[in-house]
């Protein structure tokens, strides 16, 4: 009740502070004083505080199950465990926008504090651009999706949170992903500020690289958490489905990765300035575009919270204002510097990074087309198509071959002009990878030539990075670790794809199902009662080829608010493989439908993504710059 009022009015105060901040900054901008006025810090901190208060009061309403708040009523229920009451705060449209706002204000405050060594005018302009975004989101929250709508009379109970969202990985997935998504807003604002001040330079590159790294790390981990959740909760046994909403998070990741590499060139050689600026703008635009696609209800997925065209139109207009503003600024202010890519020597680190960029742009366009083309087609010709995994696989996988090859050679090159050193050892490594792959693939039922080439380049990258990890001490550890992680990721995904096996069958209690040399035994079921769901736990015993017995307990949950049935897979993870069993009810009978999968190297997919982010972290905390 009271929390509701406090939350609402702090939001309005936060918006007012935005306008005051803009006025004060513009005044300070023309002031000849060399340092930023202390008032700006105070105002920015106040704004952050108000948003925090507003966010906390929403959390409080959720904890107290205050159903006079419409958001709480729509998304919570008294029988929900406390943990999910809290995570329900951002498990819905209104609350997640408030979280978005919180991160926006938090980051601009941190930016102000952390950028003291930077030119004053640049900092103030960054603040102004960021405030434009913040004002847009304040208005969006207050006008179209107020989280503090008041209901009277107070309903006795809420409608409940979608049960598939009641999951620990998903409770932390949105905040982490948002830190990455919204972090790109700082990169956007500061690159616009840098362009207007003609400050796209080595110093700026060094300074903004930290922000790029932070966003990149959070985005990587956020995507991974979503993927882990999809793996064990959706019960399809995959970890990436090329669902439009997944793509929407992958696209900023691709541009951010390209940006990260460009910034390295920028801070070393003051080149690729246009790339850096355009990529900064695109990354944030893609994040916003993602928000638009997800929130407007154009796409249909678990992430679609509410279908309200008014919200869609608001974000759409806001998005296009930002695009036009940023492109305008880019064309008016951006001065091409003389150090353009054409002057790069063909065999140099710069060129290899440029090649990396073009690959990233290619992957981006594939994902972009696959995601938005169905929308365009639907509008233009009223034809409905859906773009599935085969499209992405066909267009992306073959291009991984040259990409991985460049990735293993690129980092070995020197800046400006280089030669390939240690040619012999490289050739030997390559031959080893090819023969190793050949003997592995020969025993498998897979397309021999194609997979041999693909996997051997992945092995090649793996071996070259391993060699660098151990032989050349401490030369460029972050990069090596990240690239090592990437090669491991590609290898695990490929082997996972080739070696996975699956059995789908209907089975009843007490029955045995045999296949090849293994046996599935459905022992019994047990019923359990929890506060927010009833569950049927099934006990399975699976005897594998070696006669070893594995016990698996998949579960069917019947949630009470709202009434939804979900299947919880049981997964036994070992270093080599995951055993995955999920069951479903078959209508009107004693039979259950089960799906048993053996998925090799699953855990290595998560480990390698973690390695990627660890590479990023190492680079973030590194004192000296790469040689």
């Amino acid at each position: 009740m009271l929390a509701n009022q406090i939350g609402y009015y702090s939001l309005i105060l936060g918006l007012l502070l935005s306008f005051i901040l803009c006025a004060v900054s513009i005044k300070d901008f023309n002031n000849s004083n060399k340092r930023i006025s202390q008032n700006i810090f105070i105002l920015s901190f106040l704004q952050l505080t108000f948003v925090v208060v507003s966010f906390l009061s929403l959390i409080l309403s959720f904890i107290k199950s205050d159903f006079s708040n419409e958001t709480v009523f729509n998304n919570s229920h008294t029988t929900k465990p406390l943990f999910y009451k809290i995570s329900g705060t951002w498990g819905n449209h209104e609350g997640s926008l408030l979280l978005w706002l919180l991160v926006l204000t938090l980051f601009i405050y941190l930016f102000l504090v952390k950028s003291k060594s930077q030119p004053k005018k640049y900092r103030i302009l960054t603040l102004l651009f960021q405030q434009i975004i913040i004002i847009g989101f304040f208005l969006f929250v207050l006008v179209t999706s107020n989280p503090f709508n008041y209901l009277f009379p107070t309903p006795p109970d809420g409608l409940g949170l979608n049960p598939i969202l009641q999951d620990p990985a998903l409770a932390i997935h949105p905040p982490i992903l948002y830190l990455g998504y919204v972090g790109t807003s700082i990169i956007f604002s500061s690159s616009l500020a840098a362009v207007t001040q003609n400050y796209v330079s080595k110093e700026w590159g060094r300074h903004i690289k930290k922000w790029v790294l932070v966003s990149w790390i959070f985005l990587t981990i956020g995507i991974m958490l979503g993927s882990i959740w999809a793996y064990y909760e959706l019960g399809w046994g995959g970890f990436w489905f090329w669902d439009p909403v997944e793509n929407v998070s992958l696209m900023p990741w691709l541009t951010l990765t390209a940006l990260l590499h460009c910034i390295i060139v920028l801070e070393r050689r003051a080149a690729l300035t246009s790339w850096v600026v355009i990529l900064s703008i695109t990354t944030f635009t893609l994040s916003m575009c993602g928000t638009f696609l997800v929130r407007s209800g154009i796409l249909n997925s678990v992430h679609t919270f509410a279908n309200d065209p008014a919200r869609g139109i608001f974000i759409l207009i806001f998005l296009f204002i930002l695009i036009i503003l940023s492109l305008g600024i880019f064309f008016v202010f951006h001065k091409k510097n003389n150090n353009n890519p054409n002057s790069f020597f063909w065999l140099s680190r710069e060129t290899s990074i440029l090649i990396n960029n073009w690959f990233m742009m290619y992957f981006l366009s594939v994902v972009l087309i696959g995601t938005v083309y169905p929308i365009f087609l639907d509008v233009v010709s009223a034809e409905k198509i859906s773009v599935g995994p085969p499209f992405y696989h066909k267009l992306i996988v073959p291009f991984l071959i040259p990409f991985l090859l460049f990735m293993s050679l690129g980092p070995r090159l020197k800046w400006i002009k280089s030669e390939i050193e240690n040619k012999n050892s490289l050739i030997i490594t390559f031959i080893i990878s090819v023969t190793l792959t050949f003997f592995i693939i020969k025993n498998l039922t897979a397309d021999l030539l194609f997979y041999t080439v693909l996997i051997s380049v992945a092995f090649f990258l793996l071996f070259t990075t391993i060699k660098e990890l151990f032989i050349k001490k401490n030369n460029n550890m972050p990069q090596t670790v990240a690239h090592f992680g990437f090669s491991l990721l590609i290898l695990s995904i490929l082997f996972n794809n080739i070696l996975s096996s699956e059995i789908i069958t209907n089975i009843k209690i007490g029955e045995k199902y045999s296949y090849q040399k293994s046996e599935i035994f459905f022992k019994k079921i047990e019923e359990k009662k929890e506060s927010n769901f009833n569950s049927i736990v099934a006990y399975f015993e699976i005897k594998n080829e070696k006669g070893k017995i594995i016990k698996l307990k998949p579960e069917i949950r019947i949630y009470n608010q709202p009434i939804i049935i979900t299947s919880e897979a049981d997964i036994k993870t070992t270093l080599l493989e995951d055993r995955f069993l999920v069951m479903n009810l078959v209508k009107g009978g004693e039979y259950y439908n089960i799906r048993y999968q053996i998925k090799p190297f699953m855990i290595w997919i998560w480990i390698s993504v973690l390695l990627l982010s660890i590479g990023g972290l190492m680079s973030l905390f590194k004192k000296r710059y790469e040689k």
């Binding site: 679609t304 036009i324 929308i375």
Partner: protein, 173 residues
Amino acid sequence: MKNKLNLFIIIMSLSFCFIVFYKALNNSNIYKPKIKAKLSLPVFDAKDFNSNIYINSEKIFEEDVFYIVNIWASWCVPCRTEHPLLMELSKDLSIKLIGLNYRDKLNNAKKFIYEFGNPYSQIIIDNDGTLSVEFGAYGVPETFIIDKNKMIIKKFVGPINQKIIEEIKLIIK
């Protein structure tokens, strides 16, 4: 000259994107759970709103007319917007409206009826929400059409509007 051409192309493609997205917004494709073609009416005993006596469902739906079951509650905001339409619908004598009062306080519900009028020929009480589940409801408000064979032939999730009223009238004819 070249710059102007570039600018023109960019602006054109941006406006094209804008128009496409704008149009896509209006024909959005949110999945709505559909009730299976025909579902027989659940059999239950429920408390009557006025008399507080338990009545069997066969007694409630005994007449040879179309019935419309509307799940509502006094605390439910969308129920208020659809109420005038229900009042209008109740004037049609070929149908009978049954109100299902969902998890409500009796006093609030009575006040609601007193204030906005009573479109229902009978109101039954669903204190714990189980009855609504029997009907296959997802929330409040929800409206079901029951034909003369006592089958649920159609369900509307969310508040009804003028378009739905016309659809209902069409079905009943």
